[in-house]
Symmetry: C2
Subunit: 445 residues, 2 copies
């Protein structure tokens, strides 16, 4: 049995003092507030929260951080640079890069990642001998970095959608594409996840997957009992093409094809209408918002308040990894709303914390994770309240301090499934800065 | 003579390698790129930039960080909480708090602060025996924290402006108010700045100062040769009242009263019209934008692109200190524009760096500061490029890494006027976290 004593801990959005926590076999066995520290418990100073979940990641985008800030242009010119980076990956370089990126997530308190994986094949589209070699590289990377992964293997069939209909796959997209939804489903079925790893499905977008293939993918993913994610309405031009060719919004098309429902996550959902919100709500779907990417790419401000008011669970992804900091993601949900509405306090700090933790863990298929509760997975993230950023906040306002003032630099300890992965802000297995540098420099010399 | 060797350094917005820098008597005597490190030079790893300038600060607002995030409401309900904090200050507690806050700024690489100071008198409005006792507490605090200060002593005469005209001072405002502009000017003339300290003037806002008093304050401040700052159009209601009662926008009123011109800074300028922008531009005025405060308070997104296109220098303040991180302020100028315009790359990283450094130093009256240039004040800020946030960016993209990816946690060394104030991210004189906590807890038990 392992035990911790937390100066403060956030239990279901409420701060408690002196919380003794025990775990066995990676699950919490007791959560007891108002206790004195026992001699054999590891003392966690500051505020302890559940494990953060990063529900939308493209690990290789990490190579673009800082570099693409020298560019002007739009989402679409940024995508050209991203495509160029994708062409350089092979299973070994991708493994090293992803291991460093997932270790950066661990330092940021993220105990689970949803990797939206579409760089499947060799650059010319030929499958590797193990047709899942890239996916297996990602699974190995997450295991070595010490975090859980839900590999959202992504169906990608077409090169785009415009007034002329679906465009053929070309250039850098060749390595993303499978033959059809059936072949994709067979390939996904062959993936071999490890302990604390899940396989899920993803529909890249209505730009890359036609309605019939969406329907087949949705059916087979549901057959696995797995989460299904899709990029939805990140850009206005996607909506325009979808309306013109398919006669409805992307969410209408996904709904008609049977994709919506419990287990479905709409990623971004930035430019959605009231009817789209109703479809998400009535189907029991959820939304992965990625505010630091959405502002970086000039996508716009998504309707987080409308989602919350409709009872749609919001969770958070760092997507392009312009930054990996779920405190920044969470506060940006609220702060972007303030910029849009010129009102304060639309989402409370405990609500934002739930987006960053339990909502996200569930959207990745980890039903018993993201809470400090007996029986849940034993994930802990301890946040210093004595840094120059957080000092002076009372225990009473510790969740507000974490969500609105802390950065990942304030994270001292991270425990995943009962194992200490980060201590004193040092990853116990990976030299994160050095591995990031080496793995990026071998891809972009 | 003191010397440093910088792995990379940003000289006028361009990254150079292997830069040897020397200083004597607090001024740079040589800046030489492409050199090998000499044995007696202090080695600065990563990217070295000039000193950051925080051009809009209310030091005591630091007590509100995290605490006000539990509230809903508007700027105006937030102001009630801020007023309550202001009533608790006395010269000793203010000195301790400001010393800790200015030391936090030093950790953040800020070598100069513009303190917009209006908590002058005892809570009932009676002057202290030294009528500048609060101002002198702030000057002492900055000296002890090791950063330069421009004390922007603030004229505050009225309780507000509405359709009925100017309202009387009441409640918490009593300690802010002077009798009239003449008495204010005499009091300001009695302030005793120390070495590397300046006194400037401020007009709180058109809500608190009538046009005739603005004219007197502008004339006397210009007589001192000092900077003059004013809150301008932070909220739409301020514009509405000003138009209704004074027949023009706040900037029109300030212009008619002779306040605009070189040395004048409009703080916020969030809700300004095209004519306001022309007045700022043609008069040679500058703007202090405070994006992390403006989003926190739901003020809105100011027209940074219009300012830049009109040639108006933008500089940056952390204002309410929801965060103290000029990398975040600088990137937020660009990222808020991206949210507004759905376009990328409107301000380049070197332009954003200039806002955070040289533009700000000049707006605080430090004409030879904010650049790595012979004769300039010897301020240096060294930023790690090997952290999980910054690793993987090449030297070529080091300014992009600093502005878009770094946080203050990446700052290792800070030199102010030739003296090392921060080394290995530790303030050499102040235990910042502990002093913040102690000084805030004595004000808000």
């Amino acid at each position: 049995m392992t035990g911790w004593w937390c100066e403060y801990a956030a239990i279901d959005g409420v701060v408690h003092r002196g919380v003794t926590i025990t775990a066995r076999d990676g699950r919490f066995t007791a959560i007891d507030p108002d206790t004195a520290p026992s001699a054999d418990a590891t003392r966690l100073a500051g505020l302890t929260i559940p494990g953060l979940a990063n529900t939308h990641s493209h690990a290789f985008h990490r190579v673009l951080r800082s570099r693409t800030q020298a560019d002007r242009g739009s989402f679409w010119t940024w995508r050209d640079v991203m495509y160029a980076a994708a062409t350089r990956l092979d299973p070994d370089t991708y493994h090293r890069l992803a291991r460093a990126v997932f270790a950066e997530m661990a330092l940021a308190g993220q105990t689970a990642v949803g990797e939206f994986h579409y760089v499947h094949h060799q650059p010319d589209g030929t499958p590797y001998d193990d047709q899942n070699q890239m996916g297996h590289a990602l699974l190995a990377a997450a295991e070595e970095a010490g975090i859980r992964i839900t590999l959202l293997d992504t169906l990608y069939l077409h090169g785009g959608l415009d007034a002329g209909g679906y465009q053929p796959i070309e250039g850098p997209q060749r390595r993303y594409a499978d033959t059809d939804a059936e072949q994709w489903a067979q390939r996904v079925d062959d993936l071999s996840p490890g302990t604390n790893q899940l396989i899920g499905g993803a529909i890249h977008s209505i730009r890359a997957v036609d309605p019939d293939s969406i329907a087949m993918a949705a059916e087979s993913t549901r057959g696995f009992g797995a989460p299904l994610h899709a990029h939805v309405s990140e850009q206005r031009t996607e909506n325009d093409a979808c309306l013109a060719v398919l006669g409805g919004t992307p969410l209408t098309v996904l709904d008609r094809s049977g994709a919506l429902g419990p287990g479905f996550t709409a990623v971004h959902a930035t430019h959605v209408c009231a009817d789209d919100v109703r479809r998400l709500s009535s189907s029991g779907s959820t939304v992965s918002m990625c505010p630091t990417t959405e502002r970086d790419l000039g996508d716009g401000i998504g309707p987080a308040l409308e989602f919350a008011e409709a009872g749609i669970p919001i969770h958070l992804g760092s997507d392009s990894h312009a930054t990996i900091d779920h405190f920044v993601e969470a506060r940006s949900i609220e702060l972007h709303e303030r910029l849009r509405s010129e009102r304060r306090g639309l989402h409370t700090a405990p609500e934002l914390l739930a987006m960053a933790t339990v909502n996200g863990q569930r959207a990745l298929g980890w039903e018993s994770a993201g809470r400090l509760a007996v029986g849940d997975r034993a994930d802990l993230v301890a946040i210093r309240l004595d840094s120059e950023r957080t000092a002076g906040s009372s225990g009473e306002h510790a969740i507000e301090a974490a969500i609105f003032a802390a950065t990942t630099a304030d994270i001292s300890t991270v425990v995943v499934d009962g194992t200490t992965i980060v201590a004193d802000h040092h990853h116990q297995r990976v030299d994160v800065g050095a591995e990031l540098r080496a793995s990026i420099e071998e891809l972009i010399p």
